[in-house]
């Protein structure tokens, strides 16, 4: 092999090596894009819901009201018969089976939707009031183009009869779209069109607040002790080893801890944000202590010496000078730790947060779900409508995580002093 050939070979191998590097970096970035694109394309349609406009005949005789029609009486009235009567008028049906199919175009909540509008309008009695009712998830998915229409009828969730009505309604311009406020305000439901993340949002909120209240002060105090006061001895070493190992223990083990100690020994209420918050705070604690200590360590000794030299006590030095200077790093470490806790699922499943909870929790001791658990629960559902709901929940979750991480980065860049 001549010198030139050898050199060429060496440079080819150089190019190959560099190419592998570029390939790896691009692959990793492509994965990020594919993942996010996949979620967004599946989930963005969940932010709107399909409505069907129905001319409701405000027939007071069907309200089952005895006596005068007052506001109060309207609030207690039954709107089911009235709604059904008007709904069936949108398309002529031959028999009871077809009538059922017509009703199934709407979400089971239509009665309450009608009531919500009409009970406030006693002056419209015996008039015709057009109301946009929420469509069932089948119609919703059909309208969003997620159901292929060319399948044979027995493999479709929408019958030919229903498809016919749908097309008819489209021609009459009765099918509409509307911002899906249900998704944010309602709790869980078996019907995708009525299911919302209101409950799990509150659950996550309570969980994170409890996690913050418990882990932040303890983490700060522990880091201050270890960084500023701890003597170099066996106990300190042992604590350090513990913290480093705990930070890498799989989260599911914390779930077992919550189940084995908090639920079965201490009898805390199951499925509640309280237990979730305590469990997650134990998990988050070491993950906050590590960055907290790093930012305390980054404060140069000269600051401490300056304070000590004017006669401040060790405590005054630490609390008046070191801790405030380390605060930005500490806070951003805490926020990142909380962001991890917010996305955590496995330990919450073990402490029973997978229960089907319709009510939105009002306190941390009410049973509830949390956002990531909601993702898990809905992803197990068969209905096509839950796929977009799940993806939309993921979008919300990722949104919160992005905001939290941005705040953390901002705090660090804006307020952290660079020591040279």
């Amino acid at each position: 092999m001549t010198k030139e050939e050898r050199l060429k070979k060496r440079y080819n191998s150089e190019k190959r090596f560099k190419f592998y590097g570029i390939l790896s970096v691009s692959l990793a970035m492509i994965f990020v894009l594919v993942l996010i694109q996949n979620i967004v394309s599946k989930g963005s349609s969940a932010f709107s819901r399909t409505t069907i406009e129905v001319d409701i005949i405000y027939n007071a005789n069907l309200l089952e009201i005895e006596g005068p029609i007052t506001k109060e009486a309207l609030n207690n009235a039954e709107f089911y018969d009235l709604s059904v009567e008007s709904i069936l008028k949108i398309f002529p049906s031959q028999n009871a089976k077809e009538e059922r199919q017509v009703l199934r175009l709407f979400s089971p909540d239509f009665e309450y939707e009608v009531k919500r509008v009409l009970s406030k309008k006693p002056n419209k009695i015996n008039d015709i009031v057009p109301i946009r009712l929420t469509a069932s998830d089948d119609v919703d998915q059909l309208n969003k183009g997620n159901f292929p229409r060319d399948l044979p009828e027995d493999r479709r969730r929408v019958s030919n009869f229903q498809l016919n009505i749908y097309d008819n309604l489209v021609e009459q311009d009765k099918i509409g779209k509307k911002f899906n406020d249900y998704f944010f305000t309602k709790g869980d439901s078996r019907d995708p069109e009525l299911a919302g993340i209101g409950g799990s949002l509150m659950g996550s909120f309570f969980t994170i607040v409890i996690c913050l209240i418990l882990s932040f002060p303890i983490a700060i105090m522990a880091s201050i002790y270890l960084e500023e006061f701890a003597p170099k001895n066996k106990i300190t070493d042992f604590i350090e080893i513990n913290i480093n190992n705990l930070a890498a223990v799989p989260s599911i083990v914390y779930g077992l801890l919550g189940l084995g100690i908090l639920l079965s020994v201490m009898e805390f209420p199951r499925s509640t944000p309280l237990v979730a918050g305590i469990t997650l705070s134990l998990m988050t604690l070491p993950r906050i202590i590590i960055p907290c200590r790093a930012s305390l360590k980054a404060v140069p000794p000269s600051i401490r010496e300056a304070a000590l030299s004017v006669g401040a006590s060790k405590f005054q030095t630490v609390f008046h000078h070191v801790v405030p200077l380390a605060m930005p790093g500490t806070l951003s470490g805490t926020i990142i730790g909380l962001a991890q806790a917010l996305g955590e699922t496995a330990p919450l499943i073990l402490i029973g947060m997978v229960a089907f909870v319709v009510d939105i929790p009002g306190t941390p001791v009410d049973p509830s779900a949390s956002l990531p658990v909601q993702v898990f629960l809905w992803s197990e559902q068969a209905e096509r409508g839950f796929v977009e709901k799940t993806s939309a929940t993921i979008m919300m979750l990722l949104g919160f995580l992005i905001v939290m991480n941005f705040i953390a980065v901002y705090l660090r860049q804006k307020f952290e002093k660079k020591w040279n």
Binding site: R16, G21, S24, N38, Y225, G260, V375
Partner: protein
């Protein structure tokens, strides 16, 4: 009720700060000088007022319900399903019970009302006397013009130290909760059968109470908890994940550390790290709904039978999740290799890749191995991806297109929903958890030591 008591304690504590401060000021007469700033006397009194009361309050609240429960149940020793009975009693007491009201429930709920009341009253009494006693004690000290600052700092230091003990307590808690149930499990199931048995089917273990096992049932149980398929499945999926993550992560780390310009590095590193910040449930969703079915249809078009819960899909997605753990740590570690080594290599006429392959990587090897070990530990402890995308049936296979199950999947499957605490099935989950904990602890400990040693070498 509890909140009110808490508020009262805090209010007392706050007012004793002002009281202590003003009392200290009154001490200054003639040539008596205070031993510390007046505020420290306030802190001193406030800490003494609040801390003992809070400790008593917290401890009492933690154990109150357990104690009341044991007291009540001890009166009804002949009742079956005791937990259920107690729950019924509670809901009867709260007035939302809708079942058959037995005489026992009535009696128990009266007893509960009595005990509950007693507990509340004694808690208030105890907290109040704690406040009074400690305030009197602290007040006397103030009157003697104590070294308030030193005393306050002593208390604070104890507080700080206690906080750092939480880490040890957590570890102890984990070990206790895992060990307690595992020992019960291993008293029914032989540990050898558990570790080396090759058939896993806990659903067969329908026995509710471990103490009433017949010999036939015992034989049945004996080979229901062979966890080799779980260990194999866990290792297999982790292996697939590492096959994806190690080359990509390592090359990405090398590229970012050695080749990338500062601007490329500035943007691509955080983008890659997004992969580590995405919750694992999102990966699980992606793997189960997109990647699994995609592989399945891809396999169909190639004439292969691919399970839609294939180990390949779960492992691949897990590998993607792990990429940043390897790339970022190896990037850091490669950066800490001294520049002088690279210059020595360049100066002798080596190309960049020769320098990296023959000088930088060998120098950084311990650190890189450490980061890979940490990644392996993450892979075997990862739960949501495998719960959602890998199979549930314990399947001893090395075909990546088939489905297998893992330790974490089985823990979740056993514990999701209601648990019967005395059944060997539930205890099995804790035994699995213990195995997982020991395995990851071992990996983490080695990895952290290796990385630490490596850093010390070049610091």
């Amino acid at each position: 009720m509890n909140l009110l008591l808490l508020a009262i304690i805090l209010a007392f504590s706050l007012s004793s700060y002002f009281f202590g401060r003003s009392e200290a000021r009154k001490l200054v007469t003639g040539n008596i000088k205070l031993n510390a700033l007046p505020a420290y006397y306030g802190y001193f009194l406030a800490l003494w007022c609040g801390l003992p009361a809070l400790i008593i309050f917290g401890g009492w609240s933690l154990f109150e319900s357990t104690i009341i429960k044991t007291l009540i149940l001890s009166d009804f020793s002949n009742i079956q399903s005791r937990d259920l009975f107690y729950e019924r009693t509670l809901s009867f007491f709260n007035g939302n019970f809708s079942g058959e009201i037995t005489n026992e429930i009535k009696v128990a709920s009266e007893r509960y009302a009595y005990l509950n009341n007693l507990a509340h009253n004694s808690k208030i009494a105890l907290v109040a006397s704690a406040i009074i006693a400690s305030v009197v004690f602290a007040y006397k000290k103030i009157k003697n013009n104590n070294k308030a600052r030193d005393d306050v700092e002593k208390i604070l230091k104890i507080l700080l130290f206690t906080s750092s003990l939480v880490a040890i307590l957590t570890t102890l808690g984990i070990i206790a909760s895992l060990l307690f149930e595992s020992i019960k499990f291993f008293s029914t199931i032989n540990i050898i059968d558990f570790l080396f048995g090759t058939s896993w089917s806990p659903q067969r273990a329908f026995v509710r109470d471990a103490s009433t096992i017949t010999p036939e049932e015992f034989l049945e149980l004996k080979d229901a908890f062979g966890s080799v398929p779980l260990f194999a499945g866990t290792a297999f999926i982790a292996l697939i994940a590492m096959c994806v993550a190690v080359p990509i992560g390592l090359f990405a780390g090398i590229y970012l550390a050695e080749y990338a310009s500062t601007s490329v590095r500035k943007y691509s590193k955080p983008i890659i790290e997004i992969l580590a910040g995405i919750p694992t449930v999102v990966y699980g969703f992606f793997a189960a709904l997109t990647v699994g079915p995609f592989f399945r249809s891809l396999g169909e078009s190639l004439g292969l039978t691919v399970s839609s819960e294939s180990a390949l899909a779960a492992g691949l997605i897990m590998g993607i999740m792990i990429i940043p753990y390897i790339s970022s740590l190896s990037d850091d570690i490669i950066n800490s290799v001294p520049q002088s080594l690279r210059e020595g290599s360049y100066a002798i006429g080596a190309t960049k890749s020769e320098t990296i392959k023959k000088v930088v990587i060998p120098a950084a090897l311990p650190g890189i191995i450490g980061s890979i070990l940490l990644a392996v530990s993450r892979a075997i402890g990862e739960t949501m991806i495998v719960v959602m995308a890998a199979g549930l049936a314990a399947n001893l296979t090395i075909n990546p297109l088939e489905s297998t199950t893992t330790i974490t999947t089985q823990i979740v499957m056993i514990l999701v929903g209601d648990q019967e605490f005395d059944s060997p099935k539930t205890q099995a989950a804790f035994a699995l958890g213990l195995t997982l904990f020991i395995a990851t602890l071992f990996l983490n400990y080695i990895a952290l030591r290796v990385v630490k040693k490596y850093r010390e070498k070049y610091d």
